[in-house]
Symmetry: C2
Subunit: 333 residues, 2 copies
């Protein structure tokens, strides 16, 4: 490695242990502040928290009237409860990815201002400003109570599909060091389309928060439980490799309201290697130096998109939503 | 597993050891026939050979005049040299993926009939008919001699970009057993767009042949050699998992004309697991029973495309070829 070419950003995955339904934001924010303090001690410049980091993973709970769930949402950021988090971000001089449930009064596609709910993440700058916002596009689960499930997964009930695309923003994190940052949330990480849209904007650091149950309650017969973590890592590793980017994928871990979330937060380099792993089921910080110069190999050779991509062959990706049956062959004799 | 729901197709990866430049098609075809015989003994119904299976990987050799390379191309299939392969396919009753260099006199985009060259694969039915054809879309390497490379990789010189899209064809392989088959060639396997276009046509078995050097002669400083195999597998495993399909990825392996190809052919299930691996550097057959019912879990739940994909957020994938610089953020104070 040529030191003159190095562009090192020090990244922390700030995994959270379980947040029980009864635990208040003040308690959670205090836990997050301890992780920020530790991040500063470890020399981190960028800290990534999980999806919906301020509350329990409430989409497992069914509310017939959606408004009853409003207590799990943020109507402003910072709020009185989250102001201490913003104060700590300033105190420690960190750039922070924060996932939360967002309640906004906004015009919808028809121009009517109404109450809207999104599964959202923001990047918060060391000065407390919001650098940019992302709203989750790939919402898993159901919109209605599913009697066949032992545990509900109601993201399609509580959230609208994100309407901000997949933005990438070039963000200064230190004098002379700017990072092309992108965000995904949880299930988005399994969708190569999402990674590619970020890659097409020269992303260098993809930040992902997640809450993923250790058991798939959709299981219809063939999924080995131990593959749940493996396939999460597989998706992040492939996304990083195929887009020549670093990735940091951060869990809520452990038994939350009686239901296990699988943890295993990772930091991944542009060759798809896991360079840091959180192996506890609790609040835990893992840190890695990410040399952004490593993004150059992929994007100048194998994944030089301008040279090698063939969009004319990809039209089904945007022209179809679901799959279609293929042509059928019959032997002529 | 519910036996009543099983739809098992027995698939063989027929890896080839090196084919030296001096080795004639007759010798190669004889080696391939021995693998077909072994496939029949092992109960295989579908056999997958590598990319450019009939010759050495000739794009490492520079010909100033492209016509001098014509001896490496097939002008008809079968030909006198490949007829014994077709005879063996009939004799053993197999469905076979064959990669080869195709020379065709065909109209180009301007309607002018001229000599055209493609990196091609076909599926050959047990009755000897060609079921369908694919021409490689993602051609790596250069069109001109690259003086900085110790070994050339001239696919962009010898081949035109494939013009048949990524077809999937529902193909009978036994009474009551039809398989949605798709094909990729070598470098295509690293491109999630290619996998997704197959997935959007309900592919159940993706067949890939490859010739991949153990050393990256584009290496500009950061690629560990041992990652070459790992990242090939990563791409196939992610492609299978994210499209709920089986995959069979088959190498030419060993030292060919002095240059090592990395082997490690695999069969992968829809959960991204490697269920068979060729670990020699020679002609080798590995076989796996692929229960197509395993494709259902992914496509009915997490990767139910109709429910979860959001094409309106993917437009960059077809509207851009290369990447574009992101927006820049500056703090307001």
């Amino acid at each position: 490695m040529d030191c003159l070419m190095s562009r090192i950003v020090t990244v922390a995955a700030a995994q959270l242990g379980p947040i029980q339904r009864a635990e208040g934001r003040e308690s959670v924010v205090a836990r997050m502040i301890r992780l920020l303090e530790r991040a500063q001690q470890r020399g981190a410049q960028v800290v990534v928290f999980p999806e919906l980091a301020l509350t329990t993973f409430f989409p497992r709970w069914y509310c017939e009237n959606r408004d009853e769930a409003d207590g799990w949402f943020e109507t402003s950021l910072p709020s009185p409860a989250t102001q201490p988090l913003f104060d700590a971000i300033k105190r420690y001089g960190l750039m922070v990815y924060l996932g939360y449930a967002e309640l906004a009064w906004e015009p919808d596609e028809q121009g009517v201002v109404r109450k809207r709910r999104f599964n959202t993440s923001v990047v918060i700058a060391p000065n407390g400003e919001i650098v940019f916002k992302y709203r989750k596009v790939h919402l898993p689960g159901q919109a209605e109570f599913a009697p066949y499930r032992k545990v509900q997964h109601l993201e399609k009930r509580y959230f609208e599909v994100g309407n901000l695309g997949f933005p990438v923003v070039r963000t200064p994190v230190a004098p002379g060091l700017e990072v092309n940052m992108g965000m995904l949330i949880c299930n988005d990480r399994r969708w190569p389309e999402a990674w590619r849209v970020l890659g097409l904007q020269q992303v260098e650091l993809v930040m992902v928060g997640y809450n993923t149950p250790s058991l798939n309650h959709e299981n219809q017969g063939f999924e080995a439980h131990h593959l749940r973590v493996q396939n999460s890592q597989l998706s992040v590793q492939a996304g990083c490799y195929q887009n020549a980017t670093f990735g940091v994928s951060v869990a809520k871990a452990g038994k939350e309201d009686g239901h296990e979330l699988f943890g295993h937060s990772i930091i991944v380099n542009p060759q798809g290697e896991v360079i840091a792993l959180a192996a506890s089921w609790d609040d835990e910080l893992v840190v890695a130096d990410c040399n952004l110069a490593m993004c150059d190999l992929g994007r100048n050779t194998l994944f030089n998109f301008a040279k090698h991509r063939r969009p004319e062959a990809y039209s089904r990706i945007v022209e179809q939503t679901g799959s279609v049956a293929p042509a059928q062959w019959k032997p002529s004799f």
